[in-house]
């Protein structure tokens, strides 16, 4: 897909939302606008939000909507250039030197270069979308390295020179906000904060993601989860957990447990913290009853 095609796909925020829905991702207006702006302005898209609100899913859906392959770079503390940019295949280089004997050999040839995610995207920006996942887990040094990449879309390899992207690649960054990102990084990006959806949208998402779940169940789950999130929990359930809960309860119900009971028994996939579980347990029955009754 060329640049012109990408622009065509991203004709308006509404067109984007429609296409995202076709690839089974429901985006609200402001997320669709942010994606639209990121594509049209040629800037990276920074998505922040609590765990489990669908940041990574959004990136996958964008890749699908553009018909490109998603290249994912998972960040962690201590990640460095060798994991993110490129690495030389030293074993092969040594072997090649041996084989060559008296002949001349270029050991910095393409076949000895292992491209890591950033370089992979740079080489074929029209075929790939880069996802830098959980950037808040990496350290400041890596953030600085990424900053250089994101501003110029180029990588310098000392042995080879500078590699530039033919056209600006589409880059999506996600963060759980476990630490504050550098202002410089936020500044360079189009920014969007993904919050929890309202009950109606969440029910629609559950229906879309878990096809076995009945509509009434999805709505009940969405209502109950909204109610649970309003409580001071250590780890409020995300959308992914809500989908799992609806799935699990449906399976249990098919296995023979009646409705409110099935929800109660499946709560382990929704709340995964012992303290939260014991805090919510006495009220869970009432919450589920109310959600089913509504």
């Amino acid at each position: 897909m060329t640049r012109a095609d990408a622009v065509e796909v991203a004709a308006s925020p509404e067109a984007i939302a429609e296409r995202l829905a076709a690839s089974r991702y429901l985006a609200d207006d402001s997320l669709a606008t942010a994606i639209f702006l990121a594509i049209r302005l040629g800037k990276p898209l920074l998505l922040e939000g609590a765990p489990g609100v669908g940041k990574t899913e959004a990136a996958k859906a964008v890749a699908q909507l553009l018909g490109r392959e998603l290249v994912r770079l998972q960040c962690y503390e201590g990640i460095d250039a060798g994991h993110a940019l490129y690495e030389w295949n030293y074993q092969r280089q040594l072997l090649a030197i041996r084989h060559a004997g008296e002949h001349e050999i270029d050991i910095y040839d393409d076949r000895f270069l292992i491209a890591r995610p950033l370089l992979q995207v740079l080489r074929a920006p029209e075929q790939r979308v880069l996802l830098v996942d959980e950037i808040d887990r990496s350290d400041h040094e890596f953030e600085a390295l990424l900053l250089e990449f994101l501003s110029d879309f180029q990588i310098s390899i000392p042995e080879r020179g500078t590699i530039r992207a033919g056209l600006q690649p589409i880059v999506i960054l996600t963060s759980n906000r476990t630490r504050e990102l550098a202002e410089a990084l936020r500044r360079r990006c189009v920014y969007h904060w993904i919050g929890y959806p309202n009950a109606q949208r969440e029910a629609a998402i559950i229906m879309l993601r878990a096809s076995d779940v009945a509509e009434a169940t999805a709505r009940a789950v969405a209502n109950a989860v909204q109610e649970i999130r309003a409580r001071p929990l250590a780890k409020p359930p995300g959308i992914a957990e809500a989908v799992e809960w609806a799935n699990a309860a449906t399976i249990l119900e098919k296995g023979g447990s009646p409705w409110p009971e099935a929800f109660r028994r499946a709560v382990g996939v929704l709340i995964k913290d012992e303290e939260d579980l014991s805090a919510i347990a006495p009220e869970l029955g009432r919450i589920v009853e109310e959600a089913l009754g509504r």
Binding site: T33, Y90, Q91
Partner: protein
């Protein structure tokens, strides 16, 4: 866009809005304003909400200040009355970051409690610091190497004991024309752990807070990664105020940030508030957490126990330094202290800077759990 006049008239409001935000301590770069205008053009704009979405996406206000941002937006583009950004008065413990958040509110708080606060300020700034009279200079220099270390994912060059560094060895071979000199090695680095200081600034700790802040300043200056929070009835992050090198200036800035000097303590709820902010609680993970407090919790200590349990699960080492332990007759006898004692790694004397610095410098050395030490004593 060198001068305002060369900008077309319809674009002026957008520039004006960005300037308004800047006046209210939002960090906005020139390039963000450019992309804001580009975004507005791209979107049409067909409605006011398009402009709002464009502003949100390009000017990127942090989620904590979203409400304030919206208020400014309404005031500017819809001409509402001046935004009154009053803090929601609720039961929940306030958490304040030191990034200019709730700036207006601070002003109010400062005026309200003018006398109290300024006396604290005075007390802090009028203290005459002689160079290193209290051993803090030495503490600062030794801290980075004295903190416990953990194995890092990154590697460093080394002369012995390590795995082969293929990258450097190969370039060596190439530059030596194919000869193989002695192979070069690399090894995983050891990096110091993070240090987290939680300082109680309530009335019962009045005598010690200024000492503790001095210590915190030295710690922030000395350790690569240290964070300092104060807590009383609220939680305040003062790390970046303490990054200022000059001690007096740093302490004056920190003192201005804290709103709850010499008030009551709500140790449990404030620590829970600390843990509920992901950014903060992530800092406690694998860190040396030192709480400087007398541990006198009013009322029920159930929340304190929960908070301590969560902290100790996250921290590498959880210590409580209490000034009360300076007295040889001290025993952890209050019900709150007894409840949290099994969760603590150390319960030590925090009555003087000397004993505290000695303790923090010894964090890397293993010590028996607080529980067993104090059982033996009592």
């Amino acid at each position: 866009m060198k001068r305002g006049e060369s900008l077309p008239r319809p674009a002026m409001p957008f520039l004006g809005f960005a300037r308004l935000l800047r006046r209210h301590a939002f960090a906005i770069a020139p390039e963000q304003i450019t992309s804001f205008m580009q975004a507005v053009t791209l979107l049409g704009p067909r409605s006011m909400s398009d402009i709002r979405e464009a502003a949100l996406a390009t000017l990127a206000p942090s989620p904590d200040r979203r409400g304030e941002f919206e208020a400014h937006f309404r005031a500017y583009f819809y001409g509402d009355a001046k935004p009154s950004i009053a803090g929601e008065e609720d039961d929940e413990t306030r958490v304040k970051d030191d990034r200019g958040t709730r700036e207006e509110e601070n002003q109010v708080a400062r005026q309200k409690k003018g006398g109290e606060l300024s006396s604290a300020l005075e007390q802090l700034s009028s203290r005459d610091f002689q160079r290193d009279a209290d051993g803090l200079g030495r503490f600062r220099r030794r801290l980075a190497s004295a903190l416990p270390a953990r194995r890092s994912f990154r590697t460093a060059r080394t002369r012995s004991r390590g795995t082969l560094d293929l990258r450097r060895s190969l370039s060596e071979i190439v530059s030596a024309d194919g000869d193989i000199p002695s192979p070069l090695l690399r090894r995983h680095q050891n990096v110091p752990r993070k240090l987290l200081l939680l300082i109680d600034v309530s009335g019962s700790m009045k005598l010690h807070t200024s000492d503790y802040l001095n210590l915190a300043h030295a710690a922030v200056q000395g350790a690569g990664r240290a964070e300092v929070f104060t807590f009383g009835t609220r939680l305040t992050r003062i790390t970046s105020a303490l990054r200022v090198r000059d001690r007096e200036q740093a302490l004056a800035r920190a003192a201005a940030l804290v709103d709850d000097w010499d008030g009551g303590t709500r140790m449990g709820p404030t620590l829970l508030a600390f843990l509920s902010v992901p950014r903060f609680s992530a800092f406690a993970r694998g860190a040396c957490v030192v709480i400087l407090s007398d541990g006198l919790e009013r009322g029920d200590h159930a929340e304190l126990e929960i908070a301590m349990r969560r902290l100790s699960a996250r921290a590498f080492r959880l210590s409580l330094a209490t000034p009360l332990a300076g007295d040889p007759r001290f025993r952890p006898a209050t019900s709150a202290l007894r409840a949290i004692l099994p969760l603590l790694d150390d319960l030590v004397d925090g009555s003087s800077i000397g004993s505290l610095t000695a303790f923090i410098l010894s964090l890397a050395r293993p010590a028996p759990a607080a529980d067993s030490i104090w059982k033996r004593v009592s």
